[in-house]
């Protein structure tokens, strides 16, 4: 069974802290994605990666960075967390060159106080 896991389901951080969100997939997928989900706004793409050490900005990259040192792991980094980054963060992966859908992790609900 395909699996995308995220390091935390719930996270509370203080303004200014550096925050790491981890995502791991066990399907040998080339492509991985980070979204944030806010009520009424749907899913917005922050960053995605199509290979190890390769990344591209999505629609809302400001205030975020990413790291992909291994194929199965994709990390989202908030360099200095702010209250407007309080959100649900979803990771997804998919196989390159196929019609496969994206597979999603359970999400991390981040609260920045």
């Amino acid at each position: 069974d395909v699996k995308v896991t995220q390091s935390s389901r719930y996270l509370v951080k203080r303004t200014g802290e550096k925050v790491f969100l981890e995502c791991v997939q066990d399907m040998d997928h080339e492509n991985m994605f980070w979204y944030r989900q806010d009520p009424g706004l749907g899913l917005r793409l922050i960053y995605f990666s199509y290979d190890v050490k390769m990344k591209e900005k999505g629609d809302i990259p400001e205030g975020y960075s990413v790291s992909r040192e291994k194929k199965e792991r994709f990390s989202l980094i908030l360099e200095s967390a702010s209250t407007n980054q309080t959100s649900m963060y979803l990771c997804a992966s998919t196989s390159a060159g196929t019609t496969y859908e994206q597979y999603f992790g359970p999400g991390t609900r981040l609260t920045v106080t």
Binding site: R9, L41, L90, S95, A96, G97, Y103, G105
Partner: protein, 119 residues
Amino acid sequence: AQSVAQPEDQVNVAEGNPLTVKCTYSVSGNPYLFWYVQYPNRGLQFLLKYITGDNLVKGSYGFEAEFNKSQTSFHLKKPSALVSDSALYFCAVRDLSTDRGSTLGRLYFGRGTQLTVWP
């Protein structure tokens, strides 16, 4: 530019009645179309997809969707709704013209439609 519209924020339907959740899309090239469902505090679960072929596609939990190229729509349907179908539904499109030879798999999502089925 790619976009997906879900014109209804909420859809309410009685159990046993048919349901429809609407989706329209805009892409430059040929689309791949997807429906996902999200239960509270969970990730998204794949329901069904249209790639090519028959315009009516069947998916999980008795859901189906109809691809209409002329109307650029991909509405989600179910003949008889269940209370357990209550959830948030997302439509998504993949634009093959910008997908770098189908390598990226990037999806563009609608804002979601909250479906409530009452007993």
